[in-house]
């Protein structure tokens, strides 16, 4: 492994850690602009995390060690995921481990620990949030796997870096199957990251919460880690989307340091567009009732399977 590859790997994780809160801030700012509100500072998520790290943690008496452990596991899973997603370059040392199915597994670990921790205290809202999150998770996961299978069929591999490489190397063509799966992926992204049609990240009403309800008992550094992990998850999902559908701009293969330097502005540009797009989607859609969420996820699954079938039939 060359030094450039390790540098890519290091920079990628660093970029994920640093840019994730900024991306979240950007999405929130775009949303505020689109809704004719004054936008909060782009750096607000950083301030929030810093403030939380300086506070003293309060933990419920009934909490088990699992409750304390969960934020570190969730955060760790997200950082590990960021390490295997080819956001800046595809010539990663972790390349052989960057299997897309393993990635889905990493997200599942984070979800399981988060739900267990939410149930651990035994409050009503925590349990409610955990159950809802599990329901959405188990509906979103098959859709996400289907999306990945379509991309894998197109490039005959389940390794994300290789999928991204194949798409860049191939001559530019119209892939209806990829277009369908892109729609499915966007829907999964919205559902998994507790964005608007499924969950409202800005809500203060406990009865409608999903993601927030699980964090109600957390405070200080634990909450900071959880929120940072949530931002990382959004960032990771965006980067998976880039790797699957718009890998252009990332440095391909084991190229020199020049391509790596160019890949950062490319990533930033892609993130800016994705954030705007996400904010637009959230602004034009209304939050669904919880019982309509399965319909939403079924539609995502349908899109993904349709992409698969269209690929099998038309070969495109």
């Amino acid at each position: 492994m060359s030094a450039v590859a390790w540098l890519t790997q290091f920079l990628e994780v660093l970029a994920a850690l640093v840019l994730a809160p900024l991306f979240l801030g950007w999405v929130n700012a775009c949303r505020a602009w689109l809704q004719n509100r004054r936008a909060p500072s782009l750096l607000l998520p950083y301030h929030g995390i810093r403030k939380l790290f300086h506070k003293d943690a309060v933990i419920a008496e009934s909490a088990s060690p699992l409750f304390r452990l969960a934020p570190y596991v969730v955060f760790g899973a997200m950082v590990a995921a960021a390490a295997v997603i080819p956001s800046m370059g595809t010539g990663l040392p972790f390349r052989s481990a960057a299997d897309a199915i393993a990635l889905v597994g990493l997200f599942a670990i984070a979800r399981v620990f988060m739900s267990l921790a939410a149930m651990d205290i035994g409050t009503a809202f925590g349990t409610l949030g955990a159950r809802r999150d599990m329901m959405i998770g188990f509906l979103a996961e098959p859709a996400l796997l289907m999306v990945i299978f379509v991309a894998s069929l197109l490039s005959a591999t389940t390794a994300l870096p290789l999928i991204a490489e194949r798409l860049v190397i191939q001559p530019l063509a119209l892939y209806p199957s990829l277009a369908f799966t892109a729609v499915a992926f966007t829907m999964v992204l919205l559902a998994e990251n507790a964005r608007i049609p499924v969950d409202n990240p800005a809500t203060h009403l406990e009865l409608t919460m999903i993601h927030e309800a699980m964090l109600l008992e957390y405070s200080a550094r634990h909450l900071a880690l959880m929120e940072w992990a949530a931002a990382l998850k959004l960032f990771n999902y965006a980067c998976i989307g880039f790797a699957l559908f718009v890998p252009w701009g990332a440095s391909i293969g084991s190229t020199g340091i020049g391509a790596l330097a160019l890949s950062l502005p490319a990533l930033l540009a892609k993130l800016a567009v994705a954030g705007l797009w996400l904010a637009l989607l959230e602004t034009v859609s209304a939050k669904l009732r919880v019982f309509r969420a399965p319909e939403f996820m079924a539609t995502a699954f349908m899109f993904a399977v349709l992409g698969l079938l269209v690929h099998l039939l038309l070969g495109a």
Binding site: L154, L174, L309
Partner: protein
Amino acid sequence: MQHTPFDLQLLNACAAILLLLSFAMLAQRRIVALVNLLALQGAMLFIATMLLAWRTGQNHLYVSAALTLGLKVIALPWLLHVLIKRLNVQWDSEPLLNVPGTMLIGLVTVVFSFGLAQPIAELASTATRNSLGIAVAVILLAFITMITRRKAMSQVVGFLSMENGLFFGAMSATYGMPMIVEFGVALDVLVAMLVLGVFFFQIREQFDSLDLHNLESLKEDQ
């Protein structure tokens, strides 16, 4: 993966979008949106026919494309919209069987029709033979749309969507039917639409609603 020419790629994309629109119709509750989707499907069919005509140089396909545009994109949806307004059912939405279930049935249908079309497609010599599976799927999905609806209006929309599928199937298997048959079918659809329009008013006169459920009982006083 071999490189396919760009116009064929576009045709494939059209076919894929047709299939998607069929699914959208399957899941749509509102009648006005259903009619709009039908118009969109007609528009996609028009684009596909134009592309195919341009690609194969068969002039009669231009005529059928024009027919598609006039009839399926403009006339029939307009007629349906007028009917909806006259019957005052704009805000009608009908309860479907649960949407995820219908979608799954739809997906199984698509797999079935792809399997069904595979051996037939191998016999055809056209460049678009792969889309035959999609055409069969559109027909069967329209069928399901008709089966799961109870309002007369949505059943008619399903019927028209089925005609779209048949047309697309003929196009992809043999580059379109003979001109005379196409004109005959177009006339049939138009007349059927007009007759059904009269029917709607009669049904509503009789039962005060367009729910075909009422037709199932033999006597009025029950």
